[in-house]
């Protein structure tokens, strides 16, 4: 079956959200405009299965889907909290190379985790987290020319989404226009890098471009997950290794660059209906992202009145999402998922019972290490070169 031909420029008229009754209840978000939708339960399929009855309406399942037994919690408490590290900058002669995948097995993961590379990479993430501690997104911070340049690149990528509207198609996930967007990204990635790389570092493009182009999802599967997000962090790490991003820039890297990146990813997820890549379902934090929970919890450390349980307060979510990443993530999840929060996001719900944000933040860092950096299905795609050594 051929997919239907692409539509002409996106319909400007407000459209109603009455989806065909044979489609299953989908996300509560329209793939076209990103607005909320309501769906009637699907009616009986017109196919030749006469015994088919109509599916039940959504059943709330009240019991929490998971809880960590005491001994597990103990083990997690005893794990050391990852510590920040300074990123050593490279010195000439430079040996930039095309990076490649190296990890295929748990043994490789162990090797990676014993290496200074992984400790330093994680240390970089911790340092980013610390740079945003107790700060709102809009708080003033030092913005270097490089940071501004990167922000404008991401803004450009976002503009392209408007220029490349999703095509009309019946499937719920994975609009093929995403591939057009991604192609444009790949074609322009190198010239983007050259905009801000100093002369002597321009040869690094062969090494850093692959991280960048793999930060926004997978083109053939039209999906996105924490692996891609980690690639973006790896790209930033490469810039830190080259001294293009310095410690004084870290706050802006989070509050300006990463925030813009997150906005772009949300837009891509909604407009092109990116499928969660390798979702952990109820056993994961979020289908797409991890860093906003790390950075976001750091932002809220020592906040005068907002506690982890504040995420259940709709007013707080509405009023403070623009300043606090953690809240905007919760808000997004509540918007796109159906049913009680405790049911579709039991982990985040459990975490809301933690007494303070400092503990949430350190828990998130430990979890990132264990659930992303130590998992073969994710790390098998991670690239190693000269900047990030195997």
């Amino acid at each position: 079956m051929e997919p239907p031909p692409p539509q002409s420029p996106r319909d400007e008229h407000p459209h109603t959200h009455s989806h065909s009754s044979t489609s299953i209840p989908t996300t509560g978000t329209c793939c076209k405009c990103g607005g909320a939708t309501t769906h009637a339960p699907p009616s009986q399929s017109p196919t030749s299965w006469p015994d088919l009855s109509s599916p039940p309406a959504y059943r709330p399942i009240r019991a929490p889907a998971l809880n960590l037994p005491p001994n597990n919690t103990q083990a997690i408490i005893l794990t050391p909290v990852p510590q920040s590290q300074e990123v050593p900058t490279i010195t000439p002669p430079f040996h930039f190379q095309i990076p490649s995948k190296k990890i295929t097995s748990p043994d490789d993961i162990r090797k990676f985790h014993d290496s200074p590379t992984s400790k330093n990479f994680l240390g970089f993430i911790v340092a980013l987290s610390e740079s945003i501690r107790g700060r709102k997104i809009s708080d003033p911070c030092h913005e270097s020319a490089t940071v501004s340049n990167i922000v404008s690149i991401i803004e450009n990528l976002s503009l392209w989404v408007d220029q490349i509207p999703p095509v009309q198609q019946s499937s719920r996930y994975g609009n093929i226009s995403y591939r057009t967007w991604h192609e444009r990204l790949t074609e322009n990635a190198e010239s983007f890098m050259l905009q801000f790389l100093p002369e002597d570092l321009k040869p690094s493009t062969i090494e850093i471009v692959p991280y960048f182009t793999d930060s926004f999802g997978n083109s053939s599967r039209i999906d996105y997950g924490t692996g891609h997000e980690t690639n973006f962090a790896a790209w930033l790490y490469c810039l830190a290794r080259m001294g293009i991003i310095k410690e004084e820039d870290y706050q802006a890297v989070v509050a300006r660059v990463f925030v813009k990146y997150l906005d772009l990813m949300r837009k891509l997820q909604l407009v092109y209906c990116l499928e969660p890549a390798g979702s952990h379902g109820v056993w994961g934090l979020d289908d797409y992202h991890f860093f906003p929970f790390i950075f976001g919890s750091s932002q809220l450390i020592d906040h005068k009145y907002m506690k982890p349980k504040s995420i259940h307060n709709e007013d707080i979510l509405d009023n403070f999402s623009s300043e606090y990443m953690y809240l905007s993530c919760i808000g997004f999840i509540k918007k796109v998922k159906k049913g009680p929060f405790a049911e579709h996001s039991p982990l985040l719900d459990d975490i809301s019972a933690v007494p303070n944000w400092k503990k949430v933040n350190s828990g998130m860092l430990k979890m990132y290490k264990a659930e992303v950096l130590e998992k073969v299905p994710i790390m098998q795609h991670f690239l190693f070169g000269w900047l990030i050594k195997w």
Binding site: R59, A63, S279
Partner: protein, 399 residues
């Protein structure tokens, strides 16, 4: 449905297959608003394994009722209070014994022309969809065979219950219920995508033992089936031939040793004989070495591009085109569809997603059909069709 007969189950004939289990006559309903009499209002007694090791329909129905009640009312860590470890051990052991004896590729023959075969796609721990599906399609019976196409665990919250219920059905009706292996029935997936966590959450310090036993049971699951000599069913799909070539060495006495090297370049379709000889009892199907068939069967994806190529996105398994579907069907005289699922039968419900690849993943490959109705026809070739079926409508739960 009384909860007090768990200790006094009368064994029925071992030839359980001959018993017609008609759900309407031994009714336990699983409606949205169960009547008070059909569900225990207090915690049920823990299940126990029948003394003679024979399961009966009442035991299964009680199990379903207990699982459903517990999913709504019991904290996960209290799960052992209704399904204690000794019962778990007995069920998994009994089921494993049956499963391990089955061939890599089951030959499922339909008793008569009135019978149906129901093929079920990925469930991913969605117990309530499984319960609904059994209600809706009817229980396994003399004239109703079920083939479950893998991916019972991970992502959803009730992988254990889903898997254990299927094992119970298998023990009860081994010739009417067939469980194939999915790629998630492995250590590789379950250690990342939630099932290991689920087991630890539910069984606490016995969790490691329970998890290990589950992995052992997964190893014994057959890889594929051929239904009515016409329809090849597997979680992933087609597989390659593992040919070995002797290395070119001179024939002097010292150099008589033959090196066996798998053909690196020319991927071609494997035969059913190769499938039957593959070593399936592996914790995780290997992606390198000689034993590549299990990985292919569990992980491959169809493509509109002709030919066989390595499945680079997944790092294991193959991509195969419609020409391969045609070749496979023709070569093995299969008339119906290979893989992913059957033409012959009702999917249980208007589903969404899965049997390895979501409906959405399908859509993304040009030419492959959309997924509105629980199945898609991916390849339509002269000798038959390739269909993917999915059976977890609320998967993932975040929809």
């Amino acid at each position: 449905m009384s909860s007090d007969d768990s200790n006094n189950i009368s064994p029925i004939s071992r030839d359980a297959d001959a018993v017609a289990c008609s759900p309407s006559s031994t009714a336990v309903t699983y409606s949205d608003n169960p009547s008070p009499s059909s569900l225990p209002t207090v915690a049920p007694d823990p299940l126990s394994w029948p003394p003679d090791g024979k399961l009966c329909l009442e035991w299964i129905q009680h199990l379903m009722s207990v699982f459903e009640w517990s999913s709504r009312n019991l904290a996960p860590s209290a799960f052992p209070s209704v399904f204690p470890v000794p019962v778990f051990d007995a069920l998994v052991l009994t089921a494993s014994k049956i499963l391990h004896k089955e061939p890599n590729c089951l030959q499922i023959n339909i008793p008569d022309s009135d019978s149906t075969v129901v093929v079920v796609g990925d469930l991913h721990g969605q117990l309530h969809d499984l319960l609904f599906l059994l209600q809706d399609a009817g229980f396994p019976a003399q004239n109703r065979i079920f083939v479950f196409n893998g991916d019972y665990v991970d992502r959803g919250a009730w992988g254990l219950e889903t898997f254990l219920l299927l094992l119970a059905w298998k023990v009860f009706m081994p010739h009417r219920v067939f469980l194939l292996r999915g790629n998630h029935e492995s250590k590789y997936c379950t250690s990342t995508y939630g099932f290991e966590k689920e087991v630890l959450a539910k069984y606490g310090d016995k969790g490691k033992h329970v998890y290990r036993k589950c992995l052992g049971c997964f190893e014994g699951l057959p890889l594929a089936s051929i239904i009515a000599e016409r329809v090849y069913t597997a979680h992933g799909g087609l597989f390659r031939s593992i040919s070995v070539t002797p290395s070119k060495r001179s024939k002097g006495k010292k150099n008589r040793r033959i090196n066996l090297i798998p053909e690196a370049n020319a991927l071609c379709l494997g035969s059913l004989e190769e499938l039957s000889k593959a070593r399936r009892s592996v914790l995780d199907p290997p992606w390198e070495g000689l034993n590549l068939i299990p990985g292919d069967v569990l992980w491959s994806d169809p493509s509109m591009k002709p030919g066989l190529s390595p499945n680079k996105e997944r790092g294991i398994g193959l991509l195969w085109g419609p020409d391969c579907t045609e070749e496979f069907l023709k070569k093995f005289k299969l008339k119906g569809l290979p893989v992913k699922t059957c033409t012959v039968v009702a999917t249980c419900k208007c589903g969404d997603y899965k049997s390895h690849e979501g409906p959405d993943a399908r859509e993304k490959r040009p030419g492959l059909g959309g997924m509105d109705e629980g199945y898609t026809i991916d390849h339509d070739v002269e000798s038959g069709k390739l269909i993917t079926v999915f059976s977890a409508p609320d998967y993932p739960q975040f929809q």
